[in-house]
Every structure is written in C-alpha cells, then in structure tokens.
C-alpha cells in the first residue's frame, strides 16, 4: 500500500474512518516508520489547532430553559432586517382590522363568508350621508395627530417594542396609500358601507364612534405609559386569523404563514362584473395572459389570475378600501397584492411583500429575483 495521505491521517486521528479503512491504515503504519512519524506530527498539529480554538472560546454560561425560547427572543438588531416585512404586515393588518370592526360577526371568519355580497340597490337605499358627516369624521384631526406622533416616534431609539413595529407601520401605510383614483374607489367604499349598514344595523352605531382612529389612538397611547388605558389592544386580523400579539407588538410569522390566501377558491366571474365590483378596471400585469377573474364572495375584492411563461400563476388581488381607513386620511386607493398560489409554493415561508406606489405586491412562492424585479417593474 502506498503511504497514507494527509487527509486520511487526519480522518484516522479524528476517529472518522470506516473500520475497513482504519484497518488498512493500521496495517500500513505498522510497516512504515515514515508514516508513523507523520502521524505523530499530525497529532501534534491537531492538538495545537484545537488548543488555539480553545483560546477563542466564549465564556461558559448557563443555558436558558428551552421553553423560554418559545417566545422568540428577537433583539433589536435581529429585528431590523425583518422590520420592513413587519411593517407591511401590520399596515395590511390594520386595514383588515378596520374592515373587521365594521362587521363584528366577520372578524374571525373570512375564509367561510357569512355575509352575502351587497347589492348596489341596497347601497342606494341607505343614506351615505351620515358616513361622511358622522362624528367619526369629526375626529379626523385626532387620528392625524396619532399618526404624526407615531411617525416622529419612529426615529427615537429608546422606543419600546410597540413603537418598533406599530409606528413604522403607520408610516408605511400612509406612504403606500397615496391618494389615487380616489373618486371611484371612495365612492365604491361609501356604497359598501351603506350596504353593510343595511344588513347590520349596529354597524351604524359603531360608525358613530371612530372605530379605526380609536384603535390607532389607543395603540399609540398604550405606548406612552402616562396615557395608558387598561383596555387591551384588539388583535390584528389577517384573513380572519389573529396576527401575532397586538398587546406586545410582536409579530408571529408562524401564524402568518399558516394563513393561506383563499382567492383560488373564489368563484370565477367575467371581466365586466369584476369591473363593477371595484368601480374601476382591475389592475392587470401587462404581458401575461389573464386566466380568470375571481370575486371574494365575502367582500368587494377581486383577484386577477395571470399565468407567466414559466407556468407560475400570479394573482393580483384588489379590493375596495373601507372608509374607516380613510378616516385616518390615508387609504384612498385600492390595495393590490400578487402571489403565486400555494400549490406552486415549494417554500411557503419565503413570502415576499413590497409596496409599489399604492399597490401591494405579495408573492407567495418560488420566483427568481429577475422575475421579481421585472414583476415589480411591470406593476409600476
């Protein structure tokens, strides 16, 4: 047998050779003084390297109990890279919450709709006036104030966790929802309100107090201990599932991941009805074939399914934004997000969300960076 090579000697000394190989090395070493000498050298080298690494070892400290780690111990530094994601999630979460607050029976069940779609005639019969003139509207300056506070706080370093996530979220939301197409969409939203009020009389009563701005103010106030109220902040809902823990401001990504978007199960409708639902033409990514328009049976929400050349399906979901958000003076345009359906999503945890102007693009599934950038470019 030829001499034992260096790598094999190290594997031998590390106890990582299979028994057959080890025996072969043993046999060779017995008859080869040169390799024996090398073995001694390599053993010394291994010990020396190991001692050096020992110098550069961390101090030994007690391990925290494993159970304690179930509460993700995210530190500020670690949080920053995901801050943008949390920002987007909260921004959307707030929108969904606002939606829920108008229809209490639906807050926990979007996937299985309770309400039938509102008809335009029902909307026409109820008076849209009170919505605009309601006390909620009078409270707008206050809501604005809360938003401003949140924004200025976001620059402060000593903010607590709530500030960390909620304040930038407010910023992002106001950023992302620049007034656009306001006439059509707000008109649509008012009609929605009227229709919902018809079906749920107590919704009117709810509207008489500033549902969404109330939430915002409360969240803001809780962040400032002096103004804290004993009332706990309500959970933020996304697709009917509570999103993290609103009281601590901690976002649970696991909860979020377990929340599939259900648009693939919505009934397919024609283009014109889809247009009627939104009040404007549905947004379409140019260059891709439209496979279907789908309508959320529970809301004024349209999904446009398009297929890329590679066969990935992208859904652009566009919905009429509620006027409760408008009370905060920011939600004047439709929100859109796109994603590849879960069937395509090999890495379902690799969800990506970006704001492109007023549109929300959400991609759930495999998409190469090139495709993503071109998609974003198209959306622009």
């Amino acid at each position: 047998m030829s001499h034992v090579d260096e790598g094999t000697l190290h594997a031998y000394l590390d106890g990582e050779l299979a028994s057959v190989e080890r025996e072969r090395v043993d046999t060779h070493l017995r008859g080869c003084p040169a390799c024996q000498a090398r073995l001694v050298e390599e053993r010394a080298l291994i010990e020396r390297a190991s001692r050096l690494l020992g110098i550069a070892a961390p101090p030994e400290r007690a391990m925290p109990p494993l159970q304690q780690l179930r509460q993700p111990r995210l530190t500020w530094r670690l949080r920053r890279p995901v801050a943008w994601a949390a920002t987007l999630i909260l921004a959307v979460g707030l929108g969904w919450y606002a939606r829920g607050s108008m229809m209490p029976s639906r807050t926990s069940d979007t996937a299985t709709p309770v309400l039938a779609p509102a008809t335009p005639s029902a909307a026409a019969e109820t008076r849209p006036g009170p919505v605009v003139d309601s006390p909620a509207y009078a409270d707008r300056p206050m809501a604005h104030l809360a938003v401003r506070e949140g924004l200025s706080d976001s620059g402060r370093k000593d903010r607590d966790e709530r500030h960390l996530t909620s304040a930038p979220a407010v910023g992002a939301a106001s950023n992302a929802m620049q007034p656009q197409e306001s006439t059509a969409v707000v008109a649509g939203a008012v009609a929605t309100l009227g229709a919902r009020a018809e079906q749920k009389p107590e919704a009117i009563a709810q509207l008489s107090r500033p549902a969404t701005s109330d939430v915002t103010v409360r969240r803001q106030a809780a962040a400032v201990p002096a103004a804290a109220e004993p009332q706990a902040a309500p959970p933020i809902m996304v697709d009917g599932v509570p999103l993290g823990d609103a009281a601590s401001g901690v976002i649970s990504f696991r909860t979020r991941r377990a929340t599939p978007i259900m648009s693939t199960t919505w009934p397919i409708i024609a283009r014109q009805p889809a247009r009627d639902v939104l009040g404007v033409d549905p947004v379409i990514i140019p260059g891709f074939a439209v496979r279907a328009y789908r309508r959320n049976p529970a809301a004024r929400e349209i999904a446009v399914e398009q297929v890329t050349d590679a066969g990935t399906t992208i859904s652009l979901i566009e919905r009429v934004v509620d006027t409760t958000l408008d009370e905060l003076g920011r939600a004047d345009s439709a929100v859109v997000h796109a994603y590849a359906p879960r069937a395509m999503a090999k890495a379902a945890n690799e969800r990506l969300a970006r704001f492109v102007g007023p549109l929300r693009i959400e991609i759930d599934g495999p998409l190469t960076p090139d495709s993503l950038s071109s998609l974003l470019e198209l959306a622009r």
């Binding site: 260096e6 790598g7 690494l53 400290r61 995210l74």
Partner: protein, 166 residues
C-alpha cells in the same frame, strides 16, 4: 419530537454558541443568535435538527457579518477602538491571545474556516460534508489544511508582534 429537540438543545446549544462566537466575536450576540436558531427550530421542527441548526446559525452569522461590514463602512471615520468590547473578567493576556487567534482564523479561506469551526463545534465528517457540500472524503484533507494554516498564521502573527515590539 419535542423531547428530541430538548435533547438536541442540551447537547448542541453550547457547541452552537461556540460556533457562532468564532463568527461574531461577541459572546452575548453568539448566545442571542443560538437561542434564536433554537426558537426557529421549535417553530419549524426540522427532520435533522442538529444539521439544520448549524445551517441556520451559519446563515444568521453571515447576515450579521454583512450588516456589521455595512455599518463599519459608515463608521470608519468615527471610531478607533477595536470591534469588540472586552469583558471585564478577561486578563489582558487572554484578550491578546484571542485577538491573535481571531486574526489567524481570518486568514483561512472561508471554506477551510467553516470546516474547522464545524468540527470544533462537534460536527462529524458526515455532518460537515452535508452542510458544506464537500465530499466526505475531502473533509479530512480540508481539515488538515485548515489546522496547518491556523497554526502557521497564529505563529506568524505572534512573531510579527515580537518584531514590532523590538
């Protein structure tokens, strides 16, 4: 499965901290990242928790290093003190030695360093091969080279210091 992970935690946590410490050179930070990795493992329940943890830890440390590098670029003009704040219970000699080892490790190629650190954190050749993409047969060779270069770089660094001191 939960018991499984509890076992892995007991046996692997110190090794993971050790592994991370040689990457971030901050004991608190290394512990934070190790705990974060386990918190993620609790959520994901990977099939092979040990291997998974080291992959996740390596990724986190890499992200951390990139971020640190980015911040350093902005701060170069502002700071003159070394990156890490030495803890109080260290003697000056220990700090010097650690700094020398750190510099020596920095001289290794990324792959050699990774293999060496994984081995030192108790990973087997099989596990190292799986994580780094090396053939199992190449792990011994890589380790041999990494160990030799570490020792040489350390000794060269020490000599240079002696020369510099006169």
């Amino acid at each position: 499965m939960p018991d499984d992970l509890a076992d892995v935690y007991r046996t692997t946590y110190p090794a993971l901290v050790r592994f991370l410490y040689r990457k971030v050179w901050d004991a608190d930070r290394a512990e934070d990242l190790a705990q974060e990795a386990f918190a993620r493992a609790l959520a994901h329940r990977p099939d092979n928790p040990r291997g998974w943890l080291f992959v996740v830890a390596a990724n986190m440390a890499r992200d951390e290093a990139r971020r640190a590098a980015r911040e350093r670029r902005h701060l170069t003009l502002l700071k003159s003190e070394p990156d890490q704040t030495p803890s109080l219970d260290d003697t000056v000699g220990e700090q010097l030695d650690r700094e020398r080892v750190r510099r020596a490790l920095d001289e290794l190629t990324p792959r050699d360093r990774e293999v060496l650190l994984l081995w030192d954190a108790g990973q087997s050749y099989d596990e190292i091969a799986a994580q780094t993409g090396l053939a199992k047969g190449a792990v011994g060779t890589t380790l041999a080279r990494a160990r030799r270069r570490l020792v040489e770089a350390y000794e060269k660094g020490s000599e240079a210091e002696h020369v510099a001191r006169g």
